[in-house]
Amino acid sequence: MRNPFRSEGDAFRLVVLVFVSGALIVASAVLISRTVALVVAGLLLAVGLVRTGIWVRRSIASPDDENH
């Protein structure tokens, strides 16, 4: 995983990822219920935080090599 704001291309990929995640939440709210959408949002947030945490730990462990 790379820093998503290191380049425009990476930032664009983040926009697409966040938009797809948002669409999932909206679909859950519209098709099922707002409670399910809240659960989906919580799960997506947790996945995002875990992945960010792993990336930060790896970046600190090897500052000169980001492409793990």
Binding site: F5, R6, E8, F12, I25, L38, A41
Partner: protein, 208 residues
């Protein structure tokens, strides 16, 4: 001996004046690093507003949210979200165009990006006029206008940056090399950040 060392000092001193060069990161160039640090502060600012929003909604509020009789125009905001996300695609198209030496495509894509951003702002202002409550109407009104207004302010800044990029493109600036289109790439990163923040604001305020 003394004169020899003085001569040597003068000889090396002629090559470099002023303080030594700053230590550079091997990961990211200095200008991008400056933007990254700025975006970190921006994320914290949005974080403070989101914290206020959830505090008011979950801790303080004990009725329905939004409070009756207020109703948010979810459909209009959804269309506005699609408009803003589309502008991320067009700014990416602009950068790809300049990377491949296609100035015409880059100029067109950047103009479309500006128009989409302006359309988003216009629709949001129109929403403020017709939404039926103001920032003075309780905690809900305050945080709604605070959060969406904070984002709107970022869109205004983004539009100013995009205006500068548009003028520079018309004047023939930027080239395919990375160092020749930094002035387009950095506003692009900022614009993507603004888009990401809007998707989060939209989902939080209008959907959940």
């Amino acid at each position: 001996m003394e004169s020899a060392s003085v001569t040597l000092g003068h000889a090396t001193g002629d090559h470099h004046h002023g303080p030594p060069e700053a230590n550079k990161s091997s990961k990211v160039d200095q200008t991008t690093l400056g933007l990254l640090i700025f975006l970190v502060t921006e994320a914290m600012l949005f974080g403070a507003f989101f914290a206020s929003y959830f505090f008011l909604r979950v801790v303080v509020n004990d009725g329905p949210w939004p409070p009756e009789p207020y109703e948010l125009p979810v459909m209009v905001a959804g269309v506005n979200t699609a408009i803003l996300v589309s502008s991320s695609f067009t700014i990416h198209w602009a950068l790809e165009g300049i990377r491949r030496g296609n100035r015409k495509a880059a100029t067109l894509a950047m103009a479309v990006t500006w128009l989409l951003g302006a359309a988003f702002l216009f629709i949001q202002l129109n929403e403020y006029i017709h939404v039926g409550f103001s920032a003075r109407d309780g905690a809900f009104g305050s945080i709604f206008y605070g959060l969406t207004g904070l984002h709107g302010a970022h869109v205004i800044v983004g539009l100013i940056l995009l205006s500068i990029v548009n003028v520079r493109l018309w004047r023939g600036h930027f080239g395919p090399k990375a160092e020749d289109h930094r002035g387009l790439e950095l506003p692009g990163i900022y614009w993507h950040f603004v888009d990401v923040m809007w998707v989060i604001v939209f989902v939080t305020v209008y959907i959940l």
